[in-house]
Symmetry: C2
Subunit: 152 residues, 2 copies
């Protein structure tokens, strides 16, 4: 089941890749159904808040007509940054499934661990490394092509 939904998150990452955006994707699942989808579109939208996770949270909140996403699981291809980790806590998402970690700026166990901090008002259950290789490969491929000056 985890692989099925992480593949859906990877589909979202691919949408970002096609737009020459850093290929990160996310889906939010409730009762076995996808209620929110998102992919990074920071550059094309001129808006740094448009990370995959924020887009998915916005869509899920709209669909469920609630900012509380208590019974939801987010699948995201790359470890969330502080902004997105904070949004995940704020939205009370129950479970977070991460593909590959971001040792430099990740805020779910790498640089910070905002999602499992008992000082905050919500603790998220986290699983890491689901389809790690696939989630990592799409990022590596993107940055390799970017360095090579390819048109992606």
């Amino acid at each position: 089941m985890d692989n099925f939904f992480m593949n859906k998150a990877l589909d979202q990452a691919l949408e970002a890749y096609k737009l020459k955006e850093v290929p990160i994707g996310a889906v939010i699942v409730k009762d076995g159904k996808i209620v929110g989808r998102g992919y990074n579109r920071k550059e094309i939208s001129f808006d740094t808040t448009n990370h995959a996770e924020i887009m998915a949270i916005k869509e899920a909140s709209k669909n469920l007509k609630s900012w509380r996403l208590n019974d939801c699981t987010m699948y995201v291809t790359v470890e969330p940054c502080p902004m997105c980790a904070g949004a995940i806590v704020n939205s009370r998402i129950k479970e977070l499934v991460i593909g590959t970690m971001d040792s430099k700026g990740g805020a779910c166990g790498s640089l910070y661990n905002i999602v499992e901090d008992y000082n905050l008002n919500h603790i998220v259950e986290v699983r890491r490394g689901i389809m790690k290789q696939e989630c990592s490969n799409i990022m590596k491929n993107f940055f390799k092509k970017l360095r090579e000056g390819d048109k992606l």
Copy 2:
């Protein structure tokens, strides 16, 4: 000048108060002009990402047609949470002026200090305690009335 713009952020907080939202407001200033405004509207919009700071960043990015807010100063009535502190770093805001601190969940010097972390790719210049009393009073008043069951 700081007091002038913090008063504008307080005007935004008052808009939130009127809607029975936690009264936090923010403005973003570039070259002496306000380019983005925001107030917390989490409850009415069913969207936990709609904090004052995120709204202001979105508006400023839209107005300036760039996600990079390098030469901008944000004035915010209350210390930003992890989500908003992360968004401030992501948007490369130059200066952050904070009214009152949030010792429980603030991420700009209290629980975390995301905006002044040399491990991240941007450091924000922070000033704290500008119109602290006014920014604190509107929050205290709000929660007092909430506890009393008033209609605000």
